[in-house]
């Protein structure tokens, strides 16, 4: 009965969003947990594999990509590349936390007997801190200060590093298995370059358009949102990286500074709505048996990743101008890992590498950090006293 199936799938997603939103509001009020943690839990519980409710749906995947694209655009817009020049220690901290995470995760995965290619891919994915979770927590808490600024920058940098490494490894793997250098290059270097170039093109064109329209203050949000949606749809269809493209879009748009008008934080209501969808979607792709199978390795990896990130960021805190304490909290706040990984993996599905099934540990890490990561970030910001608590005054 295919017709009733499609009917339920059309109905079930909106209902799941409503449930997640309500659970998020009440859960946040009662427990103080970040809303996105609760959305993630709801998504996992309702998922096809568990409650059998949320069917996999390619249109949902596209919407999730758009949601993520909006977040990455905003993140890109908040990144100041000049900071790397005025404070090179930030760059050193970024490189060392990302590369050391890669090395440590690779080592542990190998020690657990995982094969080389999956270990390499796992290690590259573990480098990234979920920009979606971090930006969401930052916006929800209205936090500002060095920990806030630094986690935004570090997560953007380690995301880019993760995509680069991931794609290079995929390229190597393709070359290794097929011996086809062109195919390999297409899946790594060209993929990366075209994605960034597309984003860059938008970054130049859209602000240019905006400044032509003059009275930009009111329209910027809508214009940028539409541009992000087009860019995501384009890269998604052409199988390039929406992640890199939207991040590059935000980055270039900011540094071109043609139109200085600011889009609403989070893309306002649109952003709020799509965030619910994004976090429900993420965990709805996970299956309990895989999570259970990977749980042991996952736990070790989560601890190792946390330790490496925290220590390497802390090590460069004093020299980069903040207290040891804030350095520690910055490293700690980089814990989340989620949205990013799933979307990247969904993409490699098209490559029929079939990696997803080998990465049971990743499913477990994702679920765990999807829920716990935002909580850690939240507490890091609270302990750094960077949270703006409006109720207090």
């Amino acid at each position: 009965m295919p017709e009733s199936l499609s009917l339920t799938s059309e109905l079930v997603w909106p209902l799941a969003l409503a449930i997640a939103w309500v659970a998020g509001e009440f859960g946040h009020r009662w427990t103080g947990l970040p809303r996105i943690s609760i959305y993630g839990l709801v998504g996992f519980v309702l998922a096809n594999a568990q409650a059998g409710l949320l069917p996999n749906s390619s249109s949902m995947e596209l919407l999730a990509n758009i949601a993520f694209g909006l977040i990455l655009f905003e993140l890109g817009y908040r990144i100041n590349l000049r900071w790397l020049r005025t404070n090179p220690w930030l760059g050193v901290a970024s490189l060392s936390e990302a590369l050391l995470t890669f090395a440590a995760v690779l080592y542990v995965a190998q020690a657990f007997g995982m094969q080389l290619i999956p270990s390499l891919l796992l290690a590259s994915l573990a480098m990234a801190s979920s920009p979606a979770a971090i930006l969401r927590v930052v916006n929800e808490e209205h936090s500002s200060g060095q920990v806030t600024e630094r986690i935004l920058h570090l997560s953007a940098f380690n995301c880019v590093l993760a995509v680069l490494t991931f794609k290079l490894i995929v390229g190597l793997w393709v070359f290794h298995t097929t011996g086809d250098i062109w195919h390999a290059l297409w899946n790594s270097l060209i993929f990366l370059m075209v994605s960034v170039a597309l984003g860059g093109l938008f970054g130049v064109a859209v602000p240019g358009l905006l400044s032509r329209l003059n009275n930009t203050e009111r329209d910027a949000t809508v214009v940028f949102a539409i541009a992000v949606i087009i860019l995501v749809a384009l890269t998604h269809t052409l199988m390039f990286s929406p992640v890199l493209a939207t991040l590059a879009f935000g980055l270039i748009a900011r540094h071109r500074r043609i139109a200085l008008s600011q889009a609403e934080k989070n893309f306002g209501t649109l952003g709020n709505l799509l965030t619910v969808l994004l976090f429900v979607f993420m965990t709805s792709t996970l299956e309990w048996p895989m999570v259970a199978a990977g749980a042991g390795l996952a736990l070790v990896l989560v601890i190792v990743r946390f330790a490496v990130k925290t220590l390497s960021v802390t090590a460069f805190s004093h020299v980069s101008g903040i207290t040891w304490r804030k350095g520690f909290l910055t490293g700690m706040a980089l814990t989340p890992l989620s949205a990013f990984v799933i979307l990247l993996l969904e993409q490699t599905r098209h490559l029929d590498i079939g990696l997803i099934d080998e990465l049971a540990a990743l499913a477990a890490i994702t679920l765990f950090l999807e829920v716990v990561g935002p909580i850690v970030t939240h507490w890091a910001l609270v302990l750094a006293k960077e949270v703006h608590n409006t109720e207090k005054h």
Binding site: T86, L260, Q262, G321, I322, H388
Partner: protein
């Protein structure tokens, strides 16, 4: 706690305090960066002094006591460069300007210090709306009587300082049509305005301060938000009407202008100040806030109407011998240029016209603070 005795200091010495804006370089809104900035600045010796202000997106600096404009300017430039270096390390923008053009007061965060929490509890939203940035200039006085004389003799010149420093045309996202909208925020406080007309320190202490203290309204001089107030513990009077200019160069020039003016007033060649001078005081002050250099004044003694711009030019010419004696001709030159080229407020309005956005104004202010046009 009775008012402390007026500590005598060398006449015509000067000191400057500047409240500066801490700006997020991504969205160009104010950002609560002062705890991190203070941490970093305290690691090395600071040329002068740096302190937190009531909300975390402000930082206050003050200079040492100076006798010459050259020293003052050199120290302010050194302070600026130190601040900019710290700001670069932390990705925080620093600029002048009496208001931030579009910050929303409800987003501000009160700095964690008991006094700030206390005033925040008393004044509520006023204190967050008070996220405005001023320049305070101290002039040393040899006695309390001299301080009160200068304080009142200066009443007619207060509009000069408002118009020359005006840099707050935009407030909460709109063009207020004022040149100094900042002072409107200050007037909202119950103890703002002018000091009572008393010329003897003894009278001020016993007939005014002691009585006010007895009412329970005030505990110290800090509770008065007057345009000019005596500061007995420093032995100074403090002029508080200036917006923080967009550059430290202008801040130094304004301070030298006040110094030269005080030197002139202490010669006592002008008619003595009188209570009736204040009949026109609020009107003149409004004119300066609203229209800046284009305002008109009513002379407190002759009641004739003067163009503010003309009155400043006349005063500048008058002060030239005093500036020569104090070595601050360069400061007067700077202010002549302001009269001809327009104030910071008109610079900011031009920036808005050019960039089409309030963010563009902040961007221009950041750049100007770092590299002044002249």
């Amino acid at each position: 706690m009775a008012l402390e005795p007026f500590k005598s200091s060398a006449s015509l010495t000067m000191g400057v305090e500047l409240e500066l804006q801490l700006v997020n370089l991504s969205d160009l809104d104010l950002t609560a960066a002062s705890p991190d900035m203070l941490h970093l600045l305290r690691r090395a010796k600071f040329p002068g002094n740096v302190t937190p202000e009531v909300t975390e997106s402000m930082i206050e600096i003050n200079t040492d006591v100076h006798t010459s404009h050259t020293e003052m300017l050199a120290q302010l430039q050194l302070i600026r460069d130190t601040l900019l270096r710290a700001g670069d390390t932390l990705n925080v923008g620093i600029c002048g300007g009496g208001t931030h053009p579009f910050q929303h007061w409800a987003d501000r965060k009160i700095f964690a210090k008991p006094r700030f929490r206390e005033v925040s509890a008393i004044y509520g939203y006023l204190i967050k709306q008070f996220t405005v940035f001023g320049q305070h200039i101290h002039i040393g006085c040899s006695s309390g009587d001299e301080a009160l004389f200068l304080l009142h003799a200066l009443n007619r010149y207060v509009p000069h300082f408002i118009a020359l420093s005006a840099s707050s045309p935009y407030f909460q996202g709109v063009d207020t049509l004022f040149n100094s909208a900042r002072l409107n925020s200050v007037f909202a406080f119950p103890l703002s305005g002018r000091a009572p007309f008393l010329l003897r320190w003894e009278e001020f202490e016993h007939r005014y301060f002691a009585k006010m203290e007895h009412t329970g309204i005030v505990k110290s001089m800090k509770d008065f938000y007057w345009d000019i107030r005596p500061k007995p513990e420093y032995g100074t009077i403090e002029l508080r009407v200036c917006d923080t200019p967009l550059t430290v160069e202008r801040a130094a020039a304004l301070s030298a202008y006040l110094q030269a003016l005080c030197r002139y007033l202490l010669e006592r060649n002008e008619p003595e100040p009188a209570e009736d001078d204040y009949l026109v005081y609020n009107y003149n002050r409004f004119q300066a806030c609203r229209f800046g250099l284009d305002g008109t004044l009513v002379h407190p003694k002759s009641h004739e109407t003067l163009l503010l711009r003309e009155d400043i030019l006349t005063t500048l010419r008058h002060l030239e011998p005093h500036a020569a004696a104090l070595g601050s001709q360069a400061a007067l030159e700077h202010l002549y240029a302001v009269i001809y080229e327009g104030s910071d407020a008109s610079f900011l309005r031009t920036q808005y016209a050019d960039s089409g956005s309030l963010e563009g104004i902040v961007d221009a202010a950041l750049e100007r603070f770092r590299a002044p046009a002249r």
